[in-house]
Amino acid sequence: MRVSCWRSLPTCGLQSTLFQLRDLKAVGKKFVHVMYPKKSSALLRDWDLWGPLVLCVSLALMLQGGSADSKEDGGPQFAEVFVIIWFGAVVITLNSKLLGGTISFFQSLCVLGYCVLPLTVAMLVCRLVLLAGSGTVSFIIRLIVVIAMFAWSTLASTAFLADSQPPHRKALVVYPIFLFYFVISWMILTFTPQ
């Protein structure tokens, strides 16, 4: 969240809309950084939570399957996915802070949220594959895609987060991240449309 003009009040309105475009570009840049996880400070320094919110909402929508609010569907409810993602991210952040990490609360939430992007892509692919059919072949394709994206998510977030930890504690930090993305991948893999 950036602040723009302060003293020059007449041009404030114009600059407000301009820096909204700048914010959107910053969000887009972060998405690119997640897909190609290199050592970059964009995700950490200029954190924002808009990308995670968009990803969370779209993932929860896709996991819903269009069967709105029916009690018979086996898939998770919208609110459950929302709560799992945000509560899980908060717990991992608290865990890493308790282990003595130097990263701040919102930076960690930002990284974990943005690294859900590969899994959202996997969900999209799974839904497209399920449109074609739901036999064994489609299951194998979905399994491969989900495993690949899960590995990508975990590696991307580890690349950003593990550096802020003391060296002998890295495994203790990576393990909950692994579990978090595993739960999301499980929800994606076991999704069957009505």
Partner: protein, 207 residues
């Protein structure tokens, strides 16, 4: 020293400005940023209205939830980045410096050298009214959702409480931060008055 009826600071007004006072009062009650004031209240109130009327508007829980989430996010962004700055001259943000430590900054706009105050009273009233009442309403919703066990709405209500509570906390800290000078000024002024009165009483009893 004439005291203006504002909540922000005390101005010295000379006798020559006496006829300007009326025009200044009318300027203070004018709304300078009508669009910002409208949107400040629009997103908050419509989020609450959608939450209350969702059962009547549509049978889809998801449509309601997504709408409320969108409205709450727009409201958070608008209040934090636009309306606070324009309407009351306060802003707050987070900064991460080079060694990775994050700092929260709370600022309030100082009155410029000409003594020209850029925030009007009615705008300030609208701003604080909207800022304070809506989180209270969301807290009431949280308690009612908990007590009637409508747990699926709890996620949305908690989001409302957190986002609007964050803005409330940020702006109160901006206000309190700037008020530290005001309270110290007021304390010293009152102290001087008290001392003057005590000295005057002592003079009376002495003579």
């Amino acid at each position: 020293m004439l005291r203006q009826g504002s909540s922000d600071d005390i101005e010295d007004v000379s006798l020559f400005d006496a006829d300007d006072e009326v025009s200044r009062r009318s300027k203070k009650s004018k709304i300078r940023h009508p669009v910002a004031s409208f949107f400040h209240l629009f997103f908050r109130v419509s989020a609450i209205v959608v939450y209350l009327l969702c059962e009547l508007l549509t049978s889809s829980f998801i449509a309601c939830m997504v709408t409320i989430i969108l409205l709450l996010s727009c409201d958070f962004w608008a209040v934090k980045n636009v309306t606070g700055r324009l309407m009351v001259g306060l802003r707050w943000w987070n900064q991460v410096d080079d060694d990775g430590r994050s700092h929260w900054k709370f600022e309030s706009r100082k009155v410029s050298a000409q003594g020209h105050k850029t925030s009007s009273e009615s705008e300030s009233r609208i701003f604080w009214l909207g800022l304070i009442t809506c989180p209270i309403i969301w807290v009431i919703f949280a308690f009612s959702a908990l007590s009637s066990f409508k747990v699926k709405w709890l996620a949305v209500v908690m989001m409302g409480v957190v986002l609007q509570g964050a803005n409330l906390y940020g702006y109160i800290r901006c206000k309190v931060g700037s008020r530290k000078n005001l309270t110290s000024m007021a304390t010293s002024y009152l102290g001087k008055q008290f001392l003057r009165q005590t000295m005057a009483k002592e003079d009376q009893t002495a003579s």
